[in-house]
């Protein structure tokens, strides 16, 4: 707005708002193409929600995202992240499902290993490879979608038509009966699909968890099969190419961001931390740069926002620059997070009785059954925390001792469900909920409570504040069929361009969405370059 006085006079081809991993990837691609690029990050360090932080003296942890499962192999290789310092402390990490009463099973690739006969029936073990193989085929068919700019509907552009045809061909190519199966299960809930395939509650619970992780869905919510396919699409085909699978970077997720930052800097991008954008500068109905809270102005031909869509359009740009119908669609986006993060500083390595040693280097799921998960979800519908939440647990210090003092350990858990809005309020619920989670952990790892030196719970309002994400949703906006692909975040901004000329989006609120992938940043950079050419 013209009312804001600006001082200083730096000028770039592109300015990127926010140095999250997508913003950094976007900056790196733009700089490699010869653009002058400036990244402005409000926090004191780059990374956004892919960041490693000290949460207790000497104890560091991936503060939001804590595993790499969907990193775009193209970004990984294009930007030479290994050369820029990224190394993986663990790859192809196994998933262990805990029942909470001693039973467990381990999922690796296409096999289930039951640690007790009671954990999983022989029939389910035999049925699992076919089930996993089927979903992975679907996922591979959908994977190319993630790396491409979504097409628009009803245009004359041959690019849009080609993209739609390509998607149709990918699905058709599966063959008649698998195609029919994909279309059948796509809108189903994971609860029904898993009941069709298995009978063992522990296996069902573990498989259902990935369908609802980081979403506003329970296992019985329609569309939860779709979110699982989406997660698999991001993971399967790509992971093998960079050798990752489910992986843990050395130094935590922040190491991914640092490598991306180095790649961007090596290509010539300038990265400024501690620089908070107050608003996007608009001149002659196009984005002309940004104004920082210090009053400093940075001019640019293209402004690319890594911030979430609501922050970008409603706070940084301002509704008066946009059409009312568009603003209404943006304001209706579902952006409230439902996942919390628990960090524990432990005096010693936690012991989960009965588990083989390698299990602790993987991820542990506490979702004993689909009903357990659905019950946990029920509370969230009425603005309560789960009575017995589901947990995705990692002990990152098993693979990477550098995160804690010698001999000490860190436990990092994603906790569902923890709604953004609680009737009782987070200030009164925080301690009770933390104690409840530690109780659950104690039931799986007796003696753990005694070793807890410090605990930190980041609920969605904390994630909102720490990472400047509206609603504290780590995918920026909920992942669901109606907020995906061609309509993510909203029609009119789903091709990384926005209604305001010169303004682009590059964050998790765009296709292909959240998770540490970097694909949104890369796709956005391609759009910026295409526009200028």
């Amino acid at each position: 707005m013209s009312a804001v006085a600006t001082s200083g006079g730096s000028r770039y081809d592109c300015v990127v708002i926010g140095g999250g991993h997508n913003g950094l990837a976007c900056a790196a691609y733009l700089a490699r193409s010869g653009r002058s690029v400036c990244v402005v990050e409000a926090a004191g360090e780059v990374g956004g929600a892919a960041v490693t932080r000290e949460f207790a003296p000497g104890f560091r942890v991936s503060a939001c995202a804590h595993l790499l499962n969907a990193m775009s192999s193209r970004v990984f290789h294009d930007l030479q992240l290994e050369r820029h310092g990224l190394s993986l402390a663990a790859t192809h990490m196994p998933t262990t499902a805990l029942s909470g009463d001693g039973a467990a099973l381990i999922l690796t690739g296409n096999a289930v290993h039951a640690l007790q006969d009671s954990a999983c029936s022989a029939a389910d073990r035999a049925a699992y490879p076919a089930y996993a193989g089927r979903l992975n085929r679907f996922a591979r068919a959908l994977n190319p979608v993630l790396e491409s700019v979504p097409p628009r509907l009803g245009t004359d552009s041959w690019q849009d038509r080609r993209a739609l045809l390509r998607l149709g061909w990918q699905i058709r190519r599966l063959g008649r009966s698998p195609m029919r199966e994909l279309l059948r299960v796509g809108g189903m809930c994971i609860y029904d699909l898993l009941r069709d395939n298995f009978t063992s509650p522990l296996l069902q619970g573990a498989l259902a968890f990935d369908a609802v992780l980081g979403t506003n869905l329970g296992p019985r919510s329609p569309g939860s099969v779709f979110t699982l396919l989406y997660r698999l699409a991001a993971a399967t085909a790509d992971a093998d190419r960079y050798g990752g699978g489910l992986a843990q970077p050395s130094g935590g997720l922040g190491a991914v961001s640092l490598a991306l930052a180095r790649a961007a800097q090596a290509a010539g991008a300038l990265i400024r931390t501690g620089a908070t954008v107050q608003q996007i500068l608009v001149r002659d109905d196009r984005a002309a740069g940004v104004v920082l809270t210090s009053g400093e102005g940075i001019e640019a031909d293209a402004v690319i926002s890594n911030a979430d869509p609501k922050s970008t359009f409603l706070k940084l740009l301002g509704a008066e620059h946009l059409d009312a119908g568009f603003v209404r669609r943006v304001s209706h986006l579902r952006t409230q997070g439902l996942a919390a993060k628990l960090h524990l500083a432990l005096e010693e390595r936690p012991v989960f009785p009965g588990l083989p040693p390698e299990a602790l280097g993987g991820r542990l799921l506490l979702t004993p059954s689909m009903d357990y998960l659905e019950r946990a979800f029920n509370h969230s519908k009425y603005r309560e925390v789960s009575g017995s939440p589901a947990l995705e647990i990692t002990v990152p210090t098993v693979n990477d001792p550098s995160l804690a003092p010698e001999g000490r350990h860190v436990l990092s858990a994603v906790v569902q469900y923890a709604p953004y809005t609680l009737d009782a309020g987070w200030s009164s619920e925080r301690q009770r909920f933390t104690d409840r989670i530690i109780d659950l952990l104690e039931s799986c790892a007796p003696g753990l409570r005694r070793c807890v030196r410090a605990a930190q719970l980041l609920a969605p309002p904390d994630l909102e504040r720490e990472f400047r994400i509206t609603g504290g949703h780590w995918h920026h906006i909920d992942l669901a069929l109606d907020q995906f692909f061609m309509v993510r975040p909203v029609p009119g901004a789903a091709q990384y361009r926005t209604p305001l000329q010169g303004l682009y989006l590059c964050g998790a609120g765009c296709h292909p969405g959240g998770g540490v992938m970097g694909a949104a940043g890369r796709n956005a950079a391609r759009q910026v370059l295409a526009q200028a050419a």
Partner: protein, 202 residues
Amino acid sequence: MHFAEPLLKTPFHDRARAESRLDSFVPWSGYTTVDVFTNVEEEYFAIRNATSVYDLTPMVKYRISGPGALAYLNRLVTRDLGKLKVGRVAYCVWCDDAGHTIDDGTVFRLGESEFRLCTAYRQLDWLLASAIGFEGRSAVSIEEVTEEIAALSVQGPTSFAVLRTLGLRGLERLKPFEVASFALHEIGLTISRTGFTGDLGY
């Protein structure tokens, strides 16, 4: 009780009923109003050659105020209201995102950040949708005031002569598309020189 009285009566209802020869009342935006008093031709020639009075109370009226009111209205309508001085009225249209006209109406600037929008149809949904994002220093408040403000349209070449008999001082200085406040028997009147005939009218 709204169910017992599905159509509201305007403050001029009893007076209008007394003048109505045909008892021809029609529903209009939730009110019952006179369609024809005597016959259409007579009324047409009255408005073209003398003066007619038309009960406009059912016209939908919104009070739009607050520090962001001007910026809000400027975003809403296709016209630059920054040029509209206090005490002036402007015809406007507003459109959806595709540029299709939703409705037209008049905007009265009653103060620096005090406006009245008069429309033919109810628009609250679109007005509120357009207000999303106007917060804090650019906050805007929108309220429907149709039932609080009665309105008459006094139109025709002799309309000034008619109104002058009411003793409204200064009315002769009111220019086209100007609005001003007057008092009549201690009742506040807002009079604008606007109308639908393209002729003299208030």
